[in-house]
Amino acid sequence: MYSAPFEYHAPATLSEALALLGQYGDEAKVLAGSQSLVPLMKLRLAQPAHLVDLRKVDGLTGVREAQGALLIGALTTHAALASSELIRAKLPMAAEAAGQIGDAQVRNLGTIGGSLAHADPSADWPAVLVALDASVVVAGPRGERTMKVEELIVGPLSTALEPGELLTQVRVPLPPARTAGAYEKLPNPASRFAIVGVAAEVSLDSRNAVQWARVAITGLAPKVTRAAKVEQALQGKAADASTVKAASARAAEGLELRPDLTGSAAYKTQLAAVYTERAVLRAVSRARER
């Protein structure tokens, strides 16, 4: 289907973009990589009267290191992140997750900021960025604010962004020594979204015990969820295979799992456990080398 008619705007600066959003309010939608919004528009599930395309706005792409964090422009594509030397060296989990999003076409156009702002409950970035304790920078009519990705995503296709606000940057704190993450995903064979995706970031002490772990799961619940029980069960423990297995068995605790074409609730509980175990084990082995 063709989309409903709309007016297209291509601002060159952030302030112009914010002004357009201010002017059109609810009638405007922000276009980043077009991989989520445009399909919705073609199905007429979204019918914005105004489309504000951010792709000509300067300064919204690229990765740089500053203030102990990696600063990622919101319009940086998944492909650029998967191949970024900086990301691969400092945040291998993020690079491997970026390389598994959708397919090559989606990765070449889709952006990290667009994915977060869209907040699909099966998207990969929310899990990875929650595990990495990342924040987002939000520009709005009253200036800038930052919030944790965990606070940004409030439900399926729903975020804490206020009308008129733009997500401009993702900030990922650089992990300390002996800390690393891994992302494990079972893709839906049709959509390549995660049936389950588990991002685990693990920090080890000098005796290889787990100082802390952050484990975030996408795909199973209405929004990305921390596996708090797993994190607690790992904390302070030697990161051996049996400990990880026992801890991971609790991955789906507290999640409201719904059966669908991909499997029953019991199967999803099993997937959560297996994929958590895989992610944690790989994160531990990476952390030992860092």
Binding site: M1, D103, L186, N188, P189, A190, S191, P259, D260, L261, T262, G263, S264, A266, Y267, Q270, L271, V274
Partner: protein, 640 residues
Amino acid sequence: MRIRQRPSSAALRQSTTKRFRWQLGDKAATDKAFSGAAKVVKQSFRNHRLIPNAIEPRSALASANPGTGEVTLWVTSQNPHVHRLIMAAFVLGLPEHKLRVISPDVGGGFGSKIFIYPEECVVTWASRALSRPVKWTAERRESFLADAHGRDHYSDAEMALSADGRILGLRVKTVANMGAYLSLFAPCIPTYLYGTLLAGAYQTPTIHVEVTAVFTHTTPVDAYRGAGRPEATYLLERMVDLSAAELGMDPLEIRRKNFIPKEKFPYQTPVALLYDSGNYAGALDKALESFDYPAFRKEQEQARKRGRYLGVGFSTYVEACGLAPSQVVGSLGAQAGLYESATVRVHPTGKVSVFTGSHSHGQGHETTFAQVASDELQLPIEDIEIVHGDTGQVPFGMGSYGSRSAAVGATALYMGTQKIKEKAKKIAAHLLEANEADVVYEGGKFSVKGSPARFKTFGDIALMAYLAHNMPKNLEPGLEAISFFDPGNFVFPFGTHVCVVEVVRDTGEVKVLRYLAVDDLGRVINPMIVDGMVHGGVAQGVSQALWEHAEYDENGQLITGSFMNYAMPHADDLPSIEVGRTETPTPVNPLGVKGAGETGTIASTAAVANAVMDAISPLGVRHIDMPLTPGRIWEALRGH
């Protein structure tokens, strides 16, 4: 969302919506074979519904000319003449000669574009009513919902065996879901193209199959790549594996024991077909040259000790294609002949246009048919043009489906070239002042046997045919021939497909590690094109086994109506497909060709399913219905 509970096949057979019951084979003899059998193996199968998903959605553009009363319809059709005939004579009541149907390069069909759909008729009617062009193009979502679907069988199968693994009989009861209406060829698919193939590669002495067709609130089901034959092959090859397992035999041992030996061709099966030629053990041997079976079994055993579940599946299939002898289909009730036509038009300059009734929607006839014409006429391939898909240019044709283009269409073309050569030879003999019997045609030149220096080229003859200044007495000018080929039998490709998988115990995930296809397609015209057909067919068949699934909810809503939830295979889901061939020409046509378009789909689904079941065989599960998704495998293994 609630997933619909699957009805049992027994419940469906009682359904008030049943439309017809059909049977084939000797019921009494089959029942007798079962009563005396040492072993009876039973299994129910669900062969689930698929959506064809050709890359180009259906489209139709009609343009009426009020001055002449003609309508031209451009349409995505696999058989434009059949479209014209049915639409003109049976739907719109138009004079057939006033309707021109053009279906040029169509973006894939897989069967779904054989049939007449309402939209094509409506735009044609509307264009006449309005005296304006009217166009309609399906969106992808409409293709999902409204293109004829495929498969959708519920079957109960029983195989009777001797203690040493000889198949004594096969009894099959199938319920075929026709959807809400009968599509154009729908009743043929679960009957003549299904029941007749249940002998497969085996000397099963007696078979009885009973098919109950039912109507449901779903999209009509019709021919989809393989059409009935994948369903038969899946059922039979699974039954052979299940039987081997129950008898404690190796799956290859039971196959070799029951194969029809190559000396027995032509071979009459108990389900109506007369197989043309074959060497089933030869194809298996060829496959085993590339696949070290004993080594795999060792590797499998070692892997199991480490908690890894590898499996191998074989599918030693037979296919019936090259549709079909017109007399046979007529006697079965089809209101159509299934010959094919070709017109070979030699132009005065010696260039050649071939008008074929076969239709190319991705098969590459422009190449393969030109090769046949080029070889026979001994002309450079650039001098041959293949024209198809236009009722205004091609005299008549039955189109492409059922892997019939090479076996029937290219044979018609071959026959046309023989007529051209015969007439050209008469003209050459006249010009060379020689006896026709002494004239030979070599390297594009006619000469008298023994004196090659004096010759006339093909171009010389073509020019003379049109100048007609010096023609043999009583020979008409011009150089053009039309041929119709009506085959005396189907052709029967066969082969061995081997699939190696790993099943992950904890999650039910399946990885296809290796896929080897050894096919015998008779003589091959273009190996590269055939390799491509095999690759595509295998991908589609693997995809049915593992991913694709059209699912309705309990309210009759299609819940797999987009590429977001209907899983098509991605290139990175599949291993590099290894292709091998043996070559047993068919005596049915002078080219010796069988068919290549559907073998991959027909063979591969069973190979994959057998491989998955082999992998998990130590875990105590004998069968899981397709699609073999991780969730379904894991559920089946739960508690084992």
